[in-house]
C-alpha cells in the first residue's frame, strides 16, 4: 500500500474519532452540531476511500448536510425555549 495513502487514512480516522468525541462531549448544542457536520463530511471521505461512492454521496448530502441543517434548527429552538 502507498505509504502516503496509509498516512492519510490514519490521519483521517484519528481526526474522525477526535471529532466524534468532541461532538459528544460538547456542552453547547450549537457547537456539538457544527462538530457533527464536520464529522459527517470527513465520514463521507472515509466512504469514498472505501470505494463506496454511493454511501459517500448519501453521507455528505443527508448525514452532514440535511441532518446538520435539521439539528441546527433544533438547536436554535432549544436556545429560544431556554
Amino acid at each position: 500500500m502507498n505509504p502516503l495513502l496509509l498516512g492519510f487514512d490514519i490521519l483521517l480516522s484519528t481526526t474522525l474519532l477526535g471529532l466524534a468525541l468532541a461532538a459528544l462531549t460538547s456542552r453547547e448544542p450549537r457547537r456539538g452540531v457544527i462538530l457533527f457536520i464536520a464529522f459527517g463530511l470527513l465520514l463521507a471521505l472515509v466512504w469514498a476511500r472505501l470505494r463506496a461512492p454511493d454511501l459517500a454521496l448519501a453521507e455528505a448530502a443527508i448525514g452532514a448536510g440535511l441532518a446538520g441543517a435539521l439539528m441546527l434548527s433544533a438547536a436554535r429552538r432549544a436556545v429560544r425555549r431556554r
Partner: protein
C-alpha cells in the same frame, strides 16, 4: 430529569451488554459461515434487475421491501413532526447577496437532483441522494426567508409526501394483480417500474426533508402572524 442513583449503574451495564452483543454479531458475520455469500448471488443477477448499478438493483429490486419501509419511516417521521404543532417562526428575509445566491443555487440543486436520480440506474446516485438535494434546495429557500420553503400548500404537500410510498405500494399491488409476487418485477418492465418508483420517492423525500426543516405543520400562506 435525573435518574435516581440506585439505578445509575444499570446504564453502563446495559450499554456494555449491547456493545458485547454487537461485537459478537460483527465477529460472527466476519468469521463465521464460509458458504455461498449473498453478494456473489446478487451480483450475478444484476443484469436482469432493471438497473445496471448493483446498489440500485439491491435497493429497489432484491430488497425492495427495505426501501419501501424506509419511505414509510420518513412519512411517519414527518407526521410526528407535524403533530408537534405549527412550524417555527420563519427566518428573516435574506439580504440581497444571499437572496441572489439562492436564486442561482436552487435551480442548480434541482438539476443536480434530477441528474442523480437518472444516473442512479447505472452509476452511484439514486432516489435518496437526489431527494436530499431537493430537500437542500428547500432548506436554502427557508433560510433565505421564504416561510413555505418553496413547498406547495398543505393539501398538495400531503400528496407529495405520501407519493413515494403510494407509488411503491401501487406498483406492488399491480404486480400482485398480474399474478406475480408483491414487488416481483418482470424483467421486461423492471427498468420502467424502478424509474417510476425512484421518481416518486425522490419527490417525496425532497418534500419530506424540506417540510421537516420547517419543523411543524405548514402555516397557511398569507395568514396573519400570531
Amino acid at each position: 430529569m435525573k435518574p435516581s442513583n440506585s439505578h445509575a449503574f444499570l446504564i453502563p451495564l446495559l450499554l456494555t451488554a449491547i456493545g458485547a452483543l454487537l461485537f459478537w454479531a460483527f465477529w460472527i458475520g466476519v468469521t463465521g459461515y464460509e458458504g455461498e455469500r449473498l453478494a456473489t448471488l446478487a451480483l450475478e443477477r444484476v443484469p436482469e434487475s432493471g438497473a445496471g448499478n448493483p446498489v440500485t438493483s439491491v435497493l429497489l429490486n432484491f430488497r425492495a421491501y427495505d426501501t419501501l419501509m424506509e419511505l414509510a419511516v420518513l412519512l411517519a417521521a414527518l407526521l410526528g413532526i407535524w403533530s408537534l404543532g405549527p412550524a417555527a417562526v420563519p427566518y428573516q428575509r435574506a439580504a440581497l447577496l444571499l437572496d441572489s445566491l439562492v436564486g442561482w443555487v436552487v435551480p442548480m440543486l434541482i438539476i443536480a437532483g434530477g441528474y442523480l436520480l437518472w444516473v442512479g440506474g447505472h452509476a452511484p446516485g439514486g432516489a435518496f441522494q437526489a431527494g436530499a438535494l431537493l430537500g437542500a434546495a428547500g432548506v436554502a429557500l427557508a433560510l433565505s426567508g421564504r416561510p413555505s420553503a418553496g413547498l406547495p400548500g398543505e393539501s398538495r404537500l400531503r400528496v407529495l409526501a405520501a407519493l413515494g410510498t403510494l407509488v411503491f405500494v401501487l406498483v406492488g399491488l399491480m404486480l400482485m394483480g398480474l399474478g406475480l409476487g408483491f414487488l416481483t418485477y418482470p424483467p421486461a418492465l423492471a427498468k420502467v417500474l424502478i424509474l417510476a418508483i425512484e421518481t416518486g420517492a425522490t419527490l417525496s423525500i425532497g418534500a419530506t426533508l424540506a417540510a421537516a426543516f420547517l419543523g411543524g405543520r405548514p402555516r397557511a400562506t398569507g395568514a396573519a402572524e400570531p
